[in-house]
Symmetry: C2
């Protein structure tokens, strides 16, 4: 990554995923090219916004032709690091963790679930979609052996920080956290929080306007 990529605003990076979803729909429909204005209007954005966002990352598209769908998909995946398979684990085999472990939508996006962990002994050595649930003490060994980079955490709030600490010391590079609290991790580890109840609160605020 170049230094310049550290200066790209977060919302622009966030929109890359939106562009990618839309382009994948176009690819399914065998659409060969798309203009920035068509791409923009399908996502309720402006033409200028789309062109500006994509310009951060390089030269895409040609005047009068637009973007080639397949090559823009490849370009965006390369930027996001999903042009190759990223090994990913799930910790916490409650309702949500089991649902995430069974979800079929990660692999097509480049994230292969290769290991599952739980703290509860009664869950250990059960399987979900052919992947055995392992005890936490096997975390470091498994992360090293399978070269796992990302972790999805679906554990209760009161054990979340301790689990995050274990993941970090075992070498995990990024954590997607479903527990409703902010994790403290070293600066070189990426964290994103997905708090479903907080999303409902935001929706409540918007719906009450």
């Amino acid at each position: 990554m170049t230094q310049a990529q550290n200066d790209i605003p977060n919302p622009a990076v966030r929109r890359l995923s939106l562009y990618l979803r839309q382009l994948e729909l176009l690819q399914k429909r065998h659409v060969p090219t798309v203009s920035s204005s068509t791409l923009a209007s399908s996502l309720s954005l402006t033409d200028a916004q789309v062109r500006k966002d994509l310009a951060y990352f390089g030269q895409f598209g040609r005047p009068g032709v637009g973007y080639e769908v397949v090559s823009l998909i490849q370009g965006l995946k390369k930027i996001l690091g999903t042009d190759r398979v990223t090994h990913t684990l799930v910790v916490g085999m409650g309702n949500l963790g089991r649902a995430l472990a069974a979800y079929q939508g990660f692999a097509p996006k480049g994230f292969q679930l290769v290991a599952l962990f739980d703290m509860d002994k009664s869950m250990i050595s059960k399987s979900i979609d052919g992947i055995k649930i392992q005890p936490m003490r096997q975390l470091t060994q498994t992360i090293n052996r399978l070269e796992i980079r990302l972790a999805i955490m679906a554990v209760p709030a009161d054990s979340a920080q301790a689990v995050a600490d274990q993941l970090v010391s075992a070498g995990i590079r990024g954590i997607l956290n479903f527990a409703p609290l902010q994790l403290r991790v070293p600066a070189d580890v990426a964290v994103r929080g997905l708090d479903v109840a907080a999303e409902l609160e935001q929706l409540s605020f918007q719906a009450n306007r």
Copy 2:
């Protein structure tokens, strides 16, 4: 809501949920008051940011004393509309929908799940935590009878727009969408998207820096 509240920047509204989570932790520990700087540092924000955010919504806190935890919680809930119970439904009883239906974390935040729906006949009249799964044709009647305002959608992408259309015409005011596509809804209906694979993409980007 006052006109002024329409001008509040989205990130400030977003942070209200963060403040609320942190204040609820303090309440659990029976902490009576908190300064803006303590609240800020626990969330990796600046003192000035916290004071500015809260100032959008009114007069909170007193110089030298800080914010009273219980009354700030009440104030934030009132702003978010979660000081009263909001009836909420879930559509789509696949793995994720069932996990959300069984999740115990919504009710304490003011969102009571009161109805579940699925398109698949084999799921109909099964129950999750005492709530029967209903067919889609009962949507409008149930929404009216139980005064349901919000909907959580955990349906496949290719049926998501059709389901959203049904929810909107049945009177739903806000939709939390887990399907990986942007829904088109009228301007007076709120929508938020939660695309777990897109969150992993963002994490991948950050972890690769």
